[in-house]
């Protein structure tokens, strides 16, 4: 069998990106949560806030550490496997990614050490400032990375000359037509991720009646956030969808599983898209609803996949189902937000076992939703690397062979599998240790332990303390 460097490179990129993406999406929200806890601690002087902060800083440290090591790979991936793409887009992407490094990465790295290990070395106000800077850094980082990504979906302010892109307007290129929607959608997703993880872990503590005063407060904050953010995300997602309909109609057609451009299009609850036959099997549908959602008119026209040749259609099955997974997760999140509100009377949410257990399971939901969302948007762009301008095949490194791509693909999978299993295992240990372990100082004499992100956590790797 001939090894295809294109397919292998796409799998490799998808794998590395998906693996990496789950860490920043969590740390962006969590960094803000920690900054808020530090602010409350500074303002009220109530030690409860600092107890919470010490615990969640531990979690942040572990996740951030894994994000950093997986992220270093990303900055080299464009060049190793997609050198034609990198060379063609360097005039735009190069400065954007460099700005990310100098405005975000250095800010995070510079203040992280102080946030994790400097509590006893600097005044409390400075420590809060470090927390704030780390949180701001994570947001600046997502600003640049989403500007770069959006430009591939809805390129603007760029002109092509002799095979290379030149920037005609930096503001048009950065604030391209889909950037705002993506930035907002991802920002809210990050807050939701942190909220659900905090809610899930805290629900577990509450069930065990551990550190009730602190954990009650954390759970309450998380539930308020979920109540507000989950519905807000539905609205933002809807606007993002309308923007996609305007700029990338084929992607929307794949999300809807709609083959023919027509009016009064039904919403498919279930279907088995068959790209070869260019039709769906086993459809379960609600008449006219897709038209209504997308055009706000029951008889509005919705574009179909057949507007473009079959080889220019994205892999419909993947886009169609990933979209449903994302929306399904979103709906569940809204439900949990409402359930929290209903149970709030007389603090019943602290007693309701099914609800607390549900929250524990739901702590995985934002990760699933985020990955599914990225699959929708990235796979929906196929076969285009830069929408309607450059295909994946054109962006590939010319000297790359299938064997080389396979070698590194297997390599990354092995390396990441080891990192990930060690990281998750360790995170579980931190969770088991809870606020109690985080707030013991038996290893805290400043130089007695490694002054490192994960070493901020006091728990033992093999499970002991």
């Amino acid at each position: 069998m001939e090894l295809d460097p294109l397919i292998l490179s796409r799998i490799q990129f998808a794998f590395v990106v998906c693996f990496h993406a789950i860490f920043p999406v969590f740390t962006i929200g969590l960094a803000s949560f920690v900054a808020v806890l530090e602010a409350l601690s500074l303002k009220t002087g109530n030690p409860v806030w600092q107890r919470l902060s010490k615990f969640w800083i531990q979690v942040f440290a572990v996740v951030f550490g894994m994000g950093v090591v997986s992220g270093i790979v990303m900055s080299f991936q464009f060049g190793t496997n997609w050198s034609n793409f990198s060379y063609a887009t360097a005039n735009f992407l190069g400065p954007i990614l460099s700005y990310e490094v100098i405005t975000a990465f250095f800010l995070e790295a510079g203040f992280l050490g102080v946030l994790l290990f400097g509590r006893d070395k600097v005044p409390q106000g400075v420590h809060f400032f470090a927390a704030l800077m780390v949180a701001v850094g994570t947001f600046i980082s997502s600003f640049w990375i989403l500007a770069a990504n959006s430009a591939l979906h809805t390129p603007d302010g760029l002109v092509m000359r002799d095979g290379l892109y030149y920037v005609s307007s930096w503001s048009d290129a950065i604030f391209n037509p889909s950037f705002g929607y993506r930035f907002l959608h991802m920002g809210v997703a990050s807050f939701l991720t942190a909220s659900f993880v905090v809610a899930g872990v805290t629900a577990w503590f509450v069930m065990q009646k551990r550190e009730m005063e602190a954990n009650k407060k954390a759970l309450s904050i998380a539930l308020w956030l979920i109540l507000i953010l989950a519905p807000a995300q539905v609205v933002i997602g809807d606007f993002h969808g309308l923007n996609t309909l305007e700029h990338q109609p084929t992607k929307v057609a794949a999300m809807e599983g709609n083959w023919e451009t027509s009016t009064g299009v039904p919403l498919l609850l279930f279907a088995w898209p068959d790209q070869e036959a260019q039709e769906n099997h086993f459809e379960i549908k609600i008449p006219k609803l897709a038209s209504f959602i997308l055009t706000h008119d029951w008889d509005g026209e919705v574009p179909g996949l057949k507007e473009v040749a079959p080889e220019e259609q994205p892999p419909v099955f993947i886009v169609f189902w990933a979209f449903r997974v994302m929306v399904g997760m979103g709906m569940l999140m809204v439900l949990f937000g409402l359930a929290g509100l209903l149970l709030r009377r007389k603090q019943r949410y602290l007693e309701c076992k099914p609800f607390l257990n549900g929250l524990r399971v739901m702590s995985l939901s934002p990760f699933i939703a985020v990955l599914a969302g990225w699959i929708v948007t990235e796979t929906g762009r196929a076969p285009w690397l830069i929408y309607e301008q450059m295909t994946h095949a054109q962006g590939l490194t010319p000297s790359l062979t299938g064997g080389m791509a396979l070698f590194t693909l297997i390599g990354y999978i092995l390396v990441y599998a080891m990192v990930f299993s060690a990281g998750v295992f360790y995170l579980m240990t931190v969770f088991r240790g809870g606020l109690e372990t985080a707030n013991t100082n038996h290893l805290d004499s400043a130089r007695e332990k490694a002054q490192r992100p994960m070493s901020a956590a006091n728990a033992n790797l093999e499970g002991g303390l």
């Binding site: 990198s86 190069g94 050490g113 030149y166 994960m454 790797l461």
Partner: protein, 332 residues
């Protein structure tokens, strides 16, 4: 297009600075991993790791900046080097990941601690070796056609690049041992005093070997160095003077000088290497100007750079200041 001034030179300086910052800063913490298996005892290993723990991930940010900066300012370098060094880059990244993770987990492990020790030492060695091989591959040159790399997957791996790879391993170990002289005391410091001259001799040996060998792989280099005496001869002389300073300081048991002088040794060797190849950045065919990105792109990033980098250097210095002083004790 009419350009008021030549940004290419400025950007060559900035990227050169970022690469040098990376080599010096990650060099001393990679050096800890390389020296790891030879350390006197487990307690020393704890201190070695502690001494670089608060700063190593900030140090590696310079590597990311080097990558992104090359894409921004000299995209041809980025799009030729990375495909040409494909396998080497993967090995370097895998090495850096293992070693980064080892930092996090070693202190938490008991029964599996030896695994993380190996990950730290092995990862550091592989990363340092691959980086040294990259330097060798740069000296060697790349087979290109029409701005695209057309060579094979293992063209970068030759006896010459293996020597430069091992040379950088020794160099980083030297940075690591002189760092230990500065940051530790007692038994570990004495051990560092003992091994520093040995490492220095190995580094000088490779230095001489490369200096003799390089003119033979590249006629241009031969002409540059041997067509009349020129000012660039000052660079290797300064490098040798720094090596002498290290020897003397170790003998006198000075604490700060060895590290600073080793940084000087690196700096002048690096400048000498660049002087050999100037103005070729993708040898043997493309100069800095061939490899440069658009003027507007270089200008756009330069403005941000001039504004932001002073702050960056400021809070890095602040962070080093907070964690200043000798590193004592270890994990119990």
């Amino acid at each position: 297009m009419e350009q008021p001034f030549d940004l290419v030179i400025i950007w060559a300086g900035i990227i050169g600075f970022a690469v040098m910052m990376y080599v010096l800063m990650d060099g001393f913490d990679l050096g800890q991993g390389i020296l790891y298996p030879f350390a006197p005892d487990d307690h020393s290993r704890d201190i070695m790791m502690n001494s670089v723990a608060p700063v190593w991930d900030g140090n590696e940010t310079w590597l990311v900046l080097g990558g992104a900066g090359l894409l921004a300012a000299f995209p041809l370098v980025y799009s030729v080097f990375l495909p040409a060094l494909y396998i080497g880059v993967f090995l370097m990244l895998a090495g850096l990941i293992f070693r980064g993770v080892a930092f996090e987990f070693r202190f938490k492990a008991n029964s599996t601690r030896y695994l993380w020790d190996w990950a730290f030492a092995g990862g550091s060695f592989v990363a340092a070796f691959s980086q040294g091989a990259v330097v060798g591959a740069y000296v060697q040159g790349f087979e290109t056609s029409n701005f695209i790399y057309v060579g094979g997957a293992f063209d970068w791996l030759t006896p010459f690049t293996i020597i430069t790879g091992l040379g950088l391993v020794a160099g980083y170990a030297l940075l690591g041992s002189t760092w230990l002289i500065m940051k530790t005391e007692g038994e570990l410091q004495q051990w560092a005093y003992k091994i520093t001259p040995i490492l220095l001799i190995v580094v000088l040996f490779v230095f001489v070997l490369i200096s003799l060998y390089t003119p033979f792989v590249d006629q241009g280099v031969l002409n540059r160095w041997f067509n009349g005496v020129s000012i660039i001869w000052l660079l290797p002389l300064l490098a040798l003077y720094c090596a002498f300073l290290v020897f003397r300081a170790v003998k006198k048991q000075q604490e700060g000088v060895p590290f600073v002088a080793t940084m000087g040794l690196f700096l002048f060797t690096y400048l000498g290497l660049l002087a050999s190849k100037w103005p070729y950045i993708v040898p043997p065919d493309y100069t800095l100007w061939d490899a440069a990105s658009a003027y507007e792109s270089q200008l756009f990033l330069l403005l941000g750079f001039l504004f932001v980098i002073p702050f960056v250097l400021g809070y890095i210095a602040w962070s080093y200041y907070i964690f200043r002083g000798k590193v004592r004790g270890g994990y119990h």
